[in-house]
């Protein structure tokens, strides 16, 4: 609104300025011949000056003066220069035209290309604006600017890390969590958070580095759930179903059913129990999947279970595709087969084992590993059927 008020004032002033000479009456104007006379006078002075300093001879001066005189007479006699000037002729159409045209035309053209409601968005204003009203991306960009300026701002890294995770920028998230850890020191939450993104980046497999982080987190705080969750997962992945079942059960006893990780934990417990031939406990009726978590930054770290599962599945699919291209990657096959086991997909696991057998027929140790894996898959399959 303020914009339109200021625009109206400017338009009014400008229109008034244009109208002023049009509506003014009275007075006289000089004729064009008066202007010619001024030039004549100036030329005469010049010639006299030149004469006085001997720049020209008196002969030349007289000739020049005569020429100027002839010119003056010629110009005053010609029609155009002595034409009378109407001081208050009919300006009506010019006045009306200006009043109507200036504001209307301006506003029409402006509305075609302008955005009157869009406020200025200077950097300073945006940096100090209320964060709640901004999108996550713009918050993130703001934080990134700060971090470029001051890369040792640990708190800054701590803020952006979960946001990266949520946006699926896993490598950035790893970097941000590492920086957080390095700059702010170790806490169980920071350790297990870094571990978590490492797991996600390695397609759901708990790597040695991640395992070490989780162990340190768990040692530091017996209350840290996340580290225990992943430690349990690691046990399952490392083919220690007994320990895994114990770990999962211990974890689940502490949990409320609302916690987002609970369904994943239960599914894993069931799978591990299956490996051991234990009948799974009947599924809890209250363990329905929670809705999407709050879309704020704090919640981003606690990515909801379905999203996480689907992310892991996507990564596993990626890995499978890579192995189709490069079947000699032994570690990759191990990881893929293990991942199918974790995800509870025995059919895919069997296919992967078969492919791996063909891919590396000469690797005796690997073939032995495949045999064991196949057995465990069959057990598990049998258990669930």
């Amino acid at each position: 609104m303020l914009f339109w008020i200021v625009a109206a004032i400017i338009t009014f002033l400008v229109t008034a300025g244009v109208l002023y000479p049009l509506t003014r009456g009275g007075g006289t104007l000089a004729l064009e011949s008066d202007y010619d006379r001024e030039i004549y006078k100036a030329r005469m002075e010049e010639i006299d000056n030149d004469l006085s300093i001997d720049r020209i001879s008196s002969e030349e001066a007289n000739a020049a003066k005569a020429e100027e005189g002839r010119r003056l007479i010629a110009s005053t006699q010609s029609g155009s220069s002595s034409k009378a000037i109407k001081v208050s002729g009919s300006n009506k159409w010019a006045v009306i035209g200006s009043i109507a045209f200036l504001p209307l035309f301006t506003i029409v053209i402006y509305l075609m290309s302008g955005t009157p409601d869009l406020p200025d968005q200077t950097l300073a204003a945006r940096l100090s604006a209320d964060p709640e009203r901004q999108s996550i991306t713009s918050l993130l960009e703001r934080a990134e600017v700060q971090l470029v300026r001051n890369p040792n701002d640990g708190k800054g890294w701590a803020v952006v890390a979960p946001v990266y995770l949520r946006l699926g920028r896993i490598d950035d998230a790893i970097n941000a969590y590492r920086n957080t850890l390095r700059l702010l020191g170790e806490t169980p939450v920071r350790l297990s958070s870094l571990g978590e993104v490492l797991v996600i980046s390695s397609q759901g497999v708990v790597t040695d580095e991640a395992l070490d982080l989780f162990k340190r987190a768990a040692d530091a705080s017996p209350e840290d759930v996340k580290s225990r969750f992943f430690l349990a997962l690691a046990l399952g992945q490392n083919g220690e179903p007994v320990k895994a079942v114990v770990a999962w059960e211990k974890l689940l006893t502490k949990a409320t059913d609302q916690a987002p990780w609970v369904p994943v934990a239960k599914a894993n417990l069931k799978a591990q129990q299956g490996l051991l031939g234990i009948k799974p406990t009947p599924p809890s009726t209250t363990a329905e999947l929670p809705g999407p978590s709050q879309s704020d930054i704090q919640a981003a770290g606690q990515m909801d279970a379905t999203a996480r599962t689907s992310m892991i599945e996507g990564m596993v699919a990626n890995l499978a595709a890579k192995l189709d291209e490069d079947p000699t990657n032994e570690a990759g096959w191990r990881r893929l087969i293990r991942s199918y086991g974790v995800l509870g997909k025995p059919e895919e696991a069997r296919q992967a084992i078969a492919k791996a057998r063909l891919a590396l027929p000469d690797n005796a140790e690997f073939q032995k590993h495949l045999n064991e894996a196949e057995k465990s898959v069959q057990n598990k399959d049998g258990a669930t059927q």
Binding site: I10, V14, V18, P21, I53, V87, G114, P116, D120
Partner: protein, 659 residues
């Protein structure tokens, strides 16, 4: 809101310029004083609106408002403040806004200070300015609106081209435009004269100060552009015959011709058609330059914009204005009566000589600039026309002109004795001869050609002041009389002498650099010492450093010799991080009027780097010459005789208005 107000002001100015195109012109036709006077007010209001608009764009740049597309494209929050300012016009949209701002500035100058102009002439001049303004504002609003917004706003800008992050750029385009666009005034005067049919000596007198002003700005702008290219591009050259340089140089040549021919028209009412044509052509060349630069039709270091829609639009403006004005010219020129008569050997004759060579030189530069475009559109061959072409055509055309400079002012009007004029110059000729011979004998490495060049420069510089010397009559009359005469000499005589002397100085710089420049290209390792051009140059090594938006390797050199000991010179290789763009910052050290110039190649992994060093004797004369020309122009402009009073009745009328 500030940004949108700027946008609104721009469009309000568009509406104003439409009114300015119509009301004063109709007023002049009908002899209506109110409508003619409204031109003055509209022109001033337009300029104010443009100033508001430009200020708000500047605000957006300085405050890094990336919701403005133009800011986002060309700025970055970390950019140094100075370049946030210069970034306003360091891009296509902003520079076009600056273009019209300056157009509006000149129109407002005529409106405010043209009180000595007859009302019809002034109204028509402002009306024609309104036409130009309308065309270019339509261009900006339609194709290049700097106020286009982005929603949502990106968080960080894309940064300004680092080559443009230079203090020289902060001044260069505004100056160039001031000159370029300034000649719109002479164009408007010419069209206005043709509209009213009054084309005579008085008209020439009214237009001359404006032509001189535009010429001063253009001279300064070109000189600064040249210095910018010299030290920023790191190639050690000061003029590249680049199409964009030519685009400003052609109007300079025709504008210089116009200054001289308008003098004949004013004093003798001769050369009327020619002067009128020059006034039209000069601005047409400015428009052509704008087209070449802004359409991106040429391959050039300066041509940053490329967008066919824009090119076609400016081409249309070009065709309408050049075609329209030339058509009007053809109709009017047949009605003109001949002016004063003069003999071939006379002041008039000398000025015709000047015009002939300047115009021919302008035509040859124009040919060389446009020939590649024409040839490509005819048979598809791609060629480049570079320095060899211009040296062969422009050089020989300039030589007779330079040699004639001292003679011209000594010839009297109507008919003169060439021989006696040359005799009066015996001192200048003798000194030039001696200086040339001395150079040949005592300065090592002087070729005959260089000696001739030095002699010619001396001839022009000394000869430039011959008129003043002779007019004062030193040696012939008593000193007090001579002093009285000296004081009585009009400012324009001093101005002419200074400007002509500036040309000689420029020539001396060019000859000296071409003949005596020394160059060294060498890969240097840390600790290495080289002897070059009387200097001992020690390379101390590379030091990494960090600027606000770039990282750099600073090469440290210690230079001794020619009166300095252990002078530090620090050329650097920079990498602008946002655009990943490397640049070389040269290091230049001035020794009186000569310069030592260091540029760098790529650093090698072993810490060595390729150094390119030049010793450029008297190189700064290339820019001191134009400075002297500008000072001469200013002296002439300050001459009260160029100013003509306003008639009494008009003056009293103005009082009435003010009261």
């Amino acid at each position: 809101m500030i940004v949108e107000l700027g946008h609104f002001a721009l469009i309000l100015c568009f509406s104003l310029s439409l009114l300015q195109s119509v009301i004063p012109v109709v007023g002049a036709r009908q002899g209506n004083a109110g409508m003619m006077a409204s031109g003055t007010w509209i022109a001033i209001a337009s300029f104010l609106m443009l100033a508001v608009s430009f200020a708000s764009l500047t605000y957006a740049h300085v405050a890094s408002d990336f919701s403005v597309g133009n800011v986002w494209e060309n700025s970055h929050s970390l950019k140094p403040l100075l370049y946030k300012y210069s970034g306003v016009w360091g891009n296509h949209e902003g520079s076009m806004l600056l273009w019209v701002l300056i157009l509006g500035f000149f129109a407002a100058l005529v409106a405010a200070f043209g009180v000595n102009l007859p009302p019809q002439l002034k109204a028509n001049v402002l009306g024609v300015q309104g036409w130009i303004m309308t065309a270019f504002l339509a261009f900006i609003i339609k194709t290049s609106n700097p106020f286009d917004r982005l929603q949502p706003a990106p968080f960080e800008g894309k940064d300004l081209n680092p080559v443009l992050q230079d203090i020289g750029l902060a001044i260069h385009p505004p100056m160039l435009y001031l000159g370029y666009v300034g000649f719109s005034i002479t164009f408007s005067f010419a069209v206005a004269a043709m509209l009213s049919g009054r084309i005579d000596a008085a008209w020439a007198r009214w237009v001359r100060p404006w032509a001189l002003m535009a010429w001063i700005f253009l001279t300064a702008g070109i000189a600064m552009g040249s210095y910018w290219a010299y030290y920023e591009l790191g190639w050690g050259g000061w003029w590249f015959w680049d199409p964009v340089e030519n685009a400003s140089f052609i109007p300079w040549l025709t504008g210089t011709a116009l200054l001289h021919s308008a003098l004949v028209m004013e004093k003798r009412e001769a050369l009327k058609i020619w002067t009128l044509l020059l006034a039209l052509v000069t601005f047409s060349m400015s428009l052509l330059g704008t087209f070449l630069v802004r359409s991106g039709v040429l391959t050039s270091v300066h041509a940053f914009a490329s967008d066919p829609e824009r090119g076609v639009f400016i081409l249309a403006i070009l065709v309408v204005f050049i075609g329209g004005s030339l058509t009007l010219f053809i109709f009017r020129s047949s009605e003109l009566r001949g002016g004063g008569l003069f003999a071939p050997v006379s002041r008039e004759g000398a000025l015709v000589f000047n015009n002939l060579f300047l115009a021919t030189a302008a035509a040859s530069v124009l040919t060389g600039t446009l020939y590649p475009l024409v040839l490509e559109s005819i048979n598809g061959s791609k060629i480049s026309v570079g320095a060899p072409f211009f040296n062969m055509t422009f050089g020989p055309l300039m030589m007779p002109l330079l040699l004639a400079i001292p003679v011209g002012p000594l010839l009297s009007w109507k008919r003169a004795d060439l021989w006696s004029a040359i005799q009066k110059l015996y001192f200048a000729a003798g000194s030039a001869l001696v200086i040339g011979i001395l150079a040949l004998a005592f300065v090592e490495g002087t070729s005959v050609l260089a000696a001739l060049g030095i002699g010619a420069a001396a001839w022009v510089m000394i000869g430039a002041f011959a008129e003043i010397w002779l007019r004062a009559g030193f040696g012939k009359v008593e000193a007090s009389t001579a002093y009285r005469r000296l004081k009585g000499l009009p400012g324009s005589t001093w101005g002419t002498a200074m400007a002509h002397c500036g040309v000689g100085l420029l020539l001396l710089g060019i000859v000296s650099v071409s003949a005596f420049q020394q160059e060294l290209i060498k890969r240097v390792a840390p600790g290495e010492v080289n002897n070059f051009a009387g200097f001992e140059i020690t390379f101390e090594g590379l030091t990494p450093a960090k600027g606000p938006n770039y990282i750099e390797d600073v090469a440290r050199f210690k230079v001794s010799g020619r009166g300095v000991i252990d002078l530090e010179m620090l050329p650097t290789k920079r990498l602008y991080t946002t655009r990943k763009m490397p640049t070389t910052e040269s290091a230049i050290e001035t020794f009186k009027f000569s310069q030592l110039y260091f540029s760098l190649g790529d650093p090698e992994p072993d810490g060595s780097i390729t150094l390119r060093a030049w010793w450029k004797p008297l190189v700064t004369f290339i820019w001191w010459g134009p400075v002297l020309m500008v000072l001469g122009g200013l002296t002439s402009l300050a001459d009260r005789r160029l100013r003509v009073g306003a008639p009494k009745r008009a003056a009293s009328r103005r009082k009435l208005v003010n009261a």
